[in-house]
Amino acid sequence: MNYVPGTSSLIEDIDKKHLVLLRDGRTLIGYLRSIDQFANLVFHQTVERIHVGKKFGDIPRGIFIVRGENVVLLGEIDVDRPCDTVLQQVSIEEILEEQRLEQQAKQETEKVKMQVLKDRGLSIPKADNLDEY
């Protein structure tokens, strides 16, 4: 607000903890250190949070530089507020395993669906350019 009154800018978000959702579905949490005119973001002490069901796991990633066009949404995390989620944090290995299982299940259902459609003579072309996760 200091710098660009009347418009929205990321300047005042600098050095604050943020959560960013990327186009490929990843969720990153880190301290926003630097920006530029394309909203490329530099995150510090980044953690990638994977959610599967009610569980989540944090993978520390260090410094992340995110290209602006890949950001879906970005939100500040209030560190002062008490965290009262129902989510349960698990270890990295566990969450990765869970993720893998989830992906597998999804693929299988997708396969079945395609087969069914094929049997009926329909085919929905897979849109490769969409971000699916």
Partner: protein
């Protein structure tokens, strides 16, 4: 600068006292001897002369020993001169050459005279002299060898001079500088503050350093005009010796030299700032650009982020436009070998410069790395509100306190902790040059910000202060991003681009006016929207003031403008008659042609109507038929009329026909019109054609469409009466030579045959035909045959078709021989045979 001092102090601490005392006394004495008590502004040369005369009287011997060492330091020159003046012969003075600029001479002289042995001795002295500690010892020794005799005394003096001269300014290869420097500093001494005011670090090095300090202190730039060579090479060169090496100073003459000389010269501070900040450099004005006409070449593209200045941790000179005579306490003078944190010097300098200048420093950024800067800012901001123990980053906190206490810290870059003494209605620094907000908007924003700041200020500030990685993005970078974003908001038509914003605030304004009293002044404020100046993008060729015309230089961005083709309307006055006439004629021709085309078009449409009439007539119901008929008649009449040039003439105008026929479409038109024309007019048309056949033929060369006319013409001919026919034939023959050209043309030949054949038909079919009534026909035929025979076969163009009864025609009029010839020529088949 204070580094010099620190080194001095270090030297002081470490060296012996006795040597220093001696030297000090001697130096001071010679100071006074040479220059007298107090500063003298005279030219040193005059002074020298005066003293030389004095010294001559006094004699050489006494002063020699004392002058030996004392003159080592920058006073060397004058002292040498003064001591040298004690030598009897004045020529030897000049031979010494210290006063003069030919300074390469003395060392050589010394060498020549002194010999090799002395050289070794002098070199040894050089090394020894380099060290102030030993210098004193040397001074004690020196008076020994050179007694009053001139020769050895001279040599000794030379040696001394050499020894003295060499260590002073620079290494041996630069004797000129060596000699200039002493003079130079002599010159400085009277100009600057008095020497007595100096603290007594008695080493010659420290003395010189003090000289530098003094010199640099008051007017660093002002002394560029004098002795500029020396200034540049030495003046601003910092001694970038790691303090850790100070302890080894006496061991390395090189270090001392470096300390005196400094590293390779640096440009003065003012230029330094501009030179580094390339991204903000203004490109030269267009006319002086070497690439004339092209846009100014930017070495750095517009979108590059601000460059970080080079981070020499030791390069702190930039931050001190004014001398700051502050020294860190001893224990903090030597920074850790790996300064991952800031060195006290750098910190001090940074504390000095950005803080004192306010939130937005003009353009000189600190020379730290990102982390260091961030830490500094963290510590500063953290330090201020607390006012307690110095943050761990800053060693020697006591010394730095005053700098923090003075100016208020910048709060521009950080909205978290408002200064404790900040006024409650303090507005954050909004840059008015980038945005023009509605005043209401601005008020709202400030309120919002203050409330937010007040709520979260303390905790946020604390948190951020504890975060060692904050402020990695510098103020400058933030501004830069903001600037780019602002640029995108510029608009030439705010009501178009940001309609809702404008309208919303207008409404709010109106609402407020209604609610509150209008006596308040703030509601009379008007909304100022930023307007971007509409830059002229039209091409204007590069022109220099005072020059004639335009440049012929062109580039890809600035292509050469074509020769200014100015359209001028010619008047009779200006241009010559001939061209006017020609132009007029051309215009006339064009106009006429246009007219013809227009007429043709009109006639065509009429013709089409006429041609379609029948179809329409058949299709039309009974009631409409009459009207259609009427229309048809009108059309026909109109058609005929159009062939007439003038309204009141009944005849078909020849000219008009020819004109129409000159156009291809016209010919086609005529061929289609002929059937619809009433007989006399059709005949007239055909006659006109016959009459003007050569011309028409010539015009038809390209188009070759005359032959379309054959059919309708033949139809017309067949309806002609004999007299008309004869007339036609006559017309065809026309003037002399016409027939030849007629024969040349296909259509002409065909026409001729048609006519003849028609005549023949008439004759053969109708015995009462009047063709033979007068001899015209016969004569004409005769002439035709004559012509046919005489014309060479090549020029005779084959007709479209050959009527069968030609032969019989010819057989009537010509004898057998000619008939045969004709036959051959015309390739008429002989039916009779």
């Amino acid at each position: 600068m204070f580094r010099f001092q620190s080194l001095d102090d270090d030297c002081t601490l470490e060296e012996e006292d006795e040597g220093h005392v001696e030297e000090e006394d001697e130096i001071d004495q010679f100071n006074d001897d040479t220059f007298g008590a107090g500063a003298i502004d005279d030219d040193w040369q005059e002074e020298h002369k005066r003293l030389a005369e004095l010294d001559e009287r006094d004699g050489l011997g006494a002063g020699l020993g004392g002058g030996g060492l004392g003159g080592e330091s920058d006073l060397g020159g004058a002292d040498l001169s003064s001591s040298a003046c004690r030598l009897p012969p004045p020529p030897s003075l000049s031979a010494l050459g210290f006063s003069s600029s030919s300074s390469g001479l003395p060392p050589q002289d010394a060498e020549d005279r002194a010999g090799e042995g002395d050289l070794a001795e002098s070199l040894a002295r050089l090394i020894l002299d380099a060290d102030p500690a030993i210098a004193g010892v040397g001074a004690a020794e020196r008076p020994g060898p050179p007694p009053g005799s001139s020769g050895p005394g001279l040599s000794a003096l030379h040696r001394l001079d050499q020894a003295r001269a060499l260590p002073q300014p620079s290494s041996i290869p630069h004797p000129s500088q060596a000699h200039q420097h002493p003079h130079h500093t002599q010159h400085q001494l009277p100009a600057g503050p008095s020497t007595s005011g100096l603290p007594p670090p008695s080493s010659m090095l420290s003395y010189q350093q003090q000289q530098h300090l003094m010199r640099r202190g008051p007017a660093p730039m002002g002394q560029m005009n004098s002795h500029s060579i020396w200034e540049n090479s030495m003046g601003f060169g910092p001694v970038s010796v790691a303090p850790g090496l100070v302890t080894h100073m006496e061991d390395s003459p090189l270090m001392s030299i470096i300390k005196e000389v400094g590293l390779p010269k640096r440009p003065p501070q003012g230029r330094n700032d501009e030179g580094r900040d390339l991204s903000e450099r203004v490109p030269p004005p267009r006319s002086s650009s070497p690439v004339i006409g092209s846009p100014p070449v930017r070495a750095i593209p517009i979108g590059t982020p601000p460059k970080q200045p080079m981070s020499h941790a030791l390069n702190h000179q930039i931050h001190h436009p004014t001398a700051v005579h502050v020294r860190a306490p001893v224990q903090h003078r030597y920074p850790t070998p790996f300064p991952e944190r800031l060195s006290p010097n750098t910190l001090l300098n940074i504390a000095n410069s950005p803080l004192c200048r306010g939130p937005f420093p003009p353009g000189v950024g600190p020379v730290l790395s990102q982390i260091q800067r961030a830490q500094l800012l963290n510590s500063q901001v953290a330090g201020f509100p607390r006012g307690g123990p110095a943050p761990p980053l800053l060693p020697g906190s006591g010394g730095f306190r005053p700098f923090f206490g003075g100016p208020p810290p910048p709060h521009g870059h950080r909205m978290g902790p408002p200064p404790p003494h900040g006024p409650p209605n303090h507005t954050p620094p909004i840059r008015h040059n980038t945005t023009h907000l509605h005043p209401q908007h601005r008020r709202m924003l400030t309120q919002r910000m203050q409330s937010r700041g007040g709520d979260r200020g303390r905790t946020g500030g604390d948190r951020r202060s504890r975060d060692p990685y904050s402020n990695l993005m510098t103020q400058k970078e933030k501004e830069w991003v903001t600037k780019i974003q602002m640029m995108q908001l510029q608009s030439t038509d705010p009501y178009l681009d940001d309609y809702y914003y404008q309208n919303y605030y207008e409404k709010m304004e109106k609402r407020q006016e209604k609610e509150t009293d209008s006596s308040k002044k703030e509601h009379t404020t008007k909304l100022i929207t930023p307007q971007v100046a509409k830059v002229e993008h039209t091409y204007r060729p590069v022109q220099f003031a005072g020059s004639l015309g335009k440049l012929t230089v062109s580039s890809v961005n600035n292509p050469r403008k074509m020769i200014d083709a100015v359209v001028t309307t010619r008047t009779d006055d200006e241009v010559c008659w001939h061209s006017v006439v020609c132009e007029k004629r051309e215009k006339q021709v064009w106009n006429k042609r246009r007219q013809i085309l227009y007429t043709v078009e009109k006639m065509y449409s009429l013709l089409l109507e006429v041609q379609d009439f029948e179809k329409r007539f058949v299709q039309a119901p009974e009631e409409d038929r009459e009207s259609l008929l009427e229309q048809h008649k009108n059309n026909t009449v109109q058609l005929c009329n159009s062939l007439r040039e003038k309204e009141w003439e009944d005849r078909v105008s020849d000219e008009q026909c020819v004109m129409i026929m000159s156009v291809r479409k016209g010919k086609r038109l005529i061929s289609r019109i002929l059937p619809f024309l009433p007989a006399p007019q059709a005949a007239a048309v055909v006659m006109a054609i016959a009459r003007n056949l050569p011309a028409l033929a010539k015009k038809d060369k390209q188009d070759q469409v005359l032959c379309w006319l054959v059919e309708p013409v033949s139809a017309v001919i067949q309806s002609l009466s004999s007299s008309t026919l004869t007339d036609l034939l006559q017309d065809l023959q026309g003037s002399e030579g016409q027939l030849a050209s007629v024969l040349h043309n296909k259509f002409g030949v065909t026409l001729l045959y048609l006519i003849l054949s028609e005549g023949e038909r008439m004759q053969s079919s109708d015995p009462n035909c009047q063709l033979m009534d007068d001899n015209r026909w016969t004569e004409l035929v005769f002439s035709v045959t004559r012509e046919l025979l005489s014309v060479p076969s090549s020029s005779l163009s084959p007709p479209l078709f050959v009527p069968p009864n030609l032969l019989s025609l010819f057989s009537r009029y010509v004898d057998r021989q000619r008939l045969e010839l004709l036959q051959d020529k015309l390739q008429i088949s002989d039916l009779s045979r």
